[in-house]
Each structure stands twice: as C-alpha cells, then as structure tokens.
Subunit: 199 residues, 2 copies
DNA sequence: CCTTGAAACTTACGATGTAAATTTATTTCG
DNA sequence: CGAAATAAATTTACATCGTAAGTTTCAAGG
C-alpha cells in the first residue's frame, strides 16, 4: 500500500501555501501571481498544489476566508476589551478601520466584489458572516441600554455601511492618509446622535 | 501618400470598441474578455485595436472613465430636477443608488480598487472627480440654508461614504434585493438628524 | 500609373492555467 | 526480505492569452 497523506499533512500544506499566497497577493495582486510561482515558493513542482486545491480560484477563496477570520478575530478582541455598549461599539469601529488600513491588501481582497461565485465556497461565506455578526452585534446591547431606538439589523447595517464606505474612500486615495479614522469617528458620532431617542 | 486616419475616424473606432467592451465586460467581467474577442466584435483582426489603444489596461481605463461620466451625468440630472437643498440631496442619493443597481457591472468596474495605476490615466481621474463633485456639492447649499452645521467637505464625505457602503453591501449580496435603497434612505435621514443644528 | 507609407493583417513567442501521462516512493503482503 | 500496488509528485503537453515583429494592402500625391 502506498503512502497516504494524513489530515495534518494536508492541513499543513494548505496553510503553508495560503501563507505564501497571502504574501504574494499582497505584494502584486492575485492576477499577477501564477500557480508556478506559488509552487516554486514552497519548493514543489507546478502541479503539486492541485493535489491540495481545486484550482487557483480555490486558493483565492481560502486566502479570503483567512482574511475574514483574522478580521473577525480583531473585531472580537476589540469589542471584548471594552465595557458598555457605547464603548464596545467605538472599540469595534476603531478596530475595523485599523485592520483595514494595516492590511489594505487583505481588506481589498476580502471585499473585492468582482471575485467569482462566492457561493461555491461555503467556508468563505461562513467567515464573512462571522465578521458581519461581530460588526453589528453590539447594536443589540446599545438598544437594550436605551442608547438608540429602531431595528437592530437595520441599524447594524447602517454602521457597517458607514465604516466600510469610509475605509474605501481612503483606500481609493480620496482621503488624506489616516482620514478614514476621523471620518469613521464622525460618522459614528453623527449616526448615534441621529438615532438618539427623542428627549 | 497613404491614407491617413482622421481624428473622427480614431474617435469613432475608440467609441465603438468601448461600447463593445462595456457590454462584454458587463456580461462576463474584464478578465474573461480577450483582446481577440473585442477585435472580432468589431470585425477587425486581433491586432487592430492596438492602433487605437495602448493595451488592454488602456481600454479598461477608457471604459471606467465612460462609466464615471455617465454616472456624473445621472447625478447631475437628478440634482437639477429638484428644488431646495434637502430635495436635491435626496434626489442625488436616490439617483446614486439607482445607477449603481441598474449598472452593477459598470459600478463595480468604476470602484474596483484593485485596478492598476489609476494615476496613469488622467481622463479617468478627471471623470472620477466630476462624479465626486456632484455627489458632495449640494452639501454647501444645505449648509447655506441652515439645515446643518459643520465642514462641507467632511460632511460631503460622510454622505458619500454612507451611500457607497450601502450599495456595496447590496452588490456583495449581503442585503435583500433593493435593500440598498432603503438603507441609503435611512442613512441619509439619520445623518441629517444627527447634523441638525441644536434647537 | 507608379511610388509611398500608414493602416491592417498575419505570424510568432513566451507565459499562463491545468489535463494527461509518467515517474517516484512508501506501505503491506507473500 | 523482495515485489506488487498505488497515492503522491513530477513531467510533458496543449489551448489560450497579451502583444512584439514582420508582412501585405491600398488610397493619396507626383
């Protein structure tokens, strides 16, 4: 009987390839990275990665899912480090901007909507939903504390749309460096004011 | 002496190729469209487009600039069709969402930040700034009318970030179809409320 | 009616993603 | 302890891409 790959062998290889892909994608963009380069980076022949990934899109999806999970982790950590709905919201918003500006390539990759058939990669969908949940979850606490009134889902979406928009404007070079943080803070404050229950 | 292309000949060819490119890009995405297909669409040989465009990126930049200009036109039309700063703002916001949802592929192409070296295509930059100006211009009127207080540039950015964020969430499939319009309306109303001068 | 030279076409090349064929290497059994 | 068996890895091969280089075409002066 031949040698058969253990589950950890497979996981190891996938992880090493994802690491290399993340780095190369960040340096030159996914289209400019070839399967041959990725294989060479791991010191294997050009076709070996195909044992571990369906195709190039599959690798891209794995890298994106990784990004979403690291992102969700950063948000969760920030949220858990503060007390009170208002402070948790602020911390999560700031962590959002920080992550996006410190990992612009990952962020761009994650939210690049021209990526093919997301629905084919359930792991990616799950990772995205995890990030979404963290982003909007604290709104329910804020509602419970009487800081605002309205539908928690809709309000969460509003905050999400606002942060994302701020980040995009900076990444597109339409804000001064670091401007997204200020813009996000202003959006957050203004939305909170606008959502305040009538006195 | 040989036949020489007139300026209108060149402009005509460029326009016809842009039209074809816009259609094919929208159907299958820019990466899935080849120079050979574009040439075949116009009934010329594969290398002929290179007489009129530097390379494929140059075509993509032209299509994006077209998109920004059509976009700016739609916003300007909407804005000019209403009276009063508040109504103009509302009309522009709605037109923004309408354009994005009716031309999702153009919109994605325009705001695809993974596109290479924008700065190499001045026409594209100019078209983008035209759209930006229309998007945020009416804020100055609103300030003049006393509807809000603050820095017009910063406030304009807030509204822009909010609409864009709402659109992106829908295009990424994270909102029910048409949800961006409702979300944008809510963002607009909430921001206006939050920016209201103290009574 | 030639000559001229820009415009269009044809050919050609290196690179890509990946299918298919081949080699390598490890494990179990006779 | 070989030798068969077969998963994993490599090598080869191919269609297709963007586009550089070479070739042909054909309308406008002389």
């Amino acid at each position: 009987m031949p040698r058969v790959l253990s589950e950890t062998d497979v996981a190891d290889f996938r992880e090493r390839l994802c690491e290399a892909a993340e780095r190369l994608f960040a340096e030159r963009g996914p289209d400019a990275v070839t399967m041959r380069q990725l294989a060479a980076e791991l010191g294997v022949s050009p076709m070996t990665p195909y044992r571990y990934f369906e195709d190039k899109d599959d690798i891209l999806a794995a890298v994106r899912a990784n990004g979403f999970n690291r992102f969700a982790e950063a948000l969760e950590t920030a949220r858990d480090s503060a007390v009170g709905a208002r402070n948790r919201g602020k911390a999560a918003g700031e962590a959002y901007v920080t992550f996006a500006l410190e990992n612009p390539h990952s962020y761009k990759l994650m939210f690049d909507f021209n990526q093919p058939h997301v629905e084919k990669y359930p792991e990616l969908v799950v990772a995205g939903q995890r990030a979404q949940k963290t982003m909007t979850g604290y709104v329910e606490d804020a509602l419970a504390e009487g800081l605002m009134t309205g539908d928690p889902g809709q309000i969460g979406m509003m905050f999400w749309a606002a942060v994302h928009g701020a980040v995009i404007l900076e990444l597109a070079g339409m804000l001064p460096p670091g401007g997204a943080r200020a813009l996000q803070g202003q959006l957050d404050a203004t939305l909170m004011r606008g959502l305040r229950p009538e006195a």
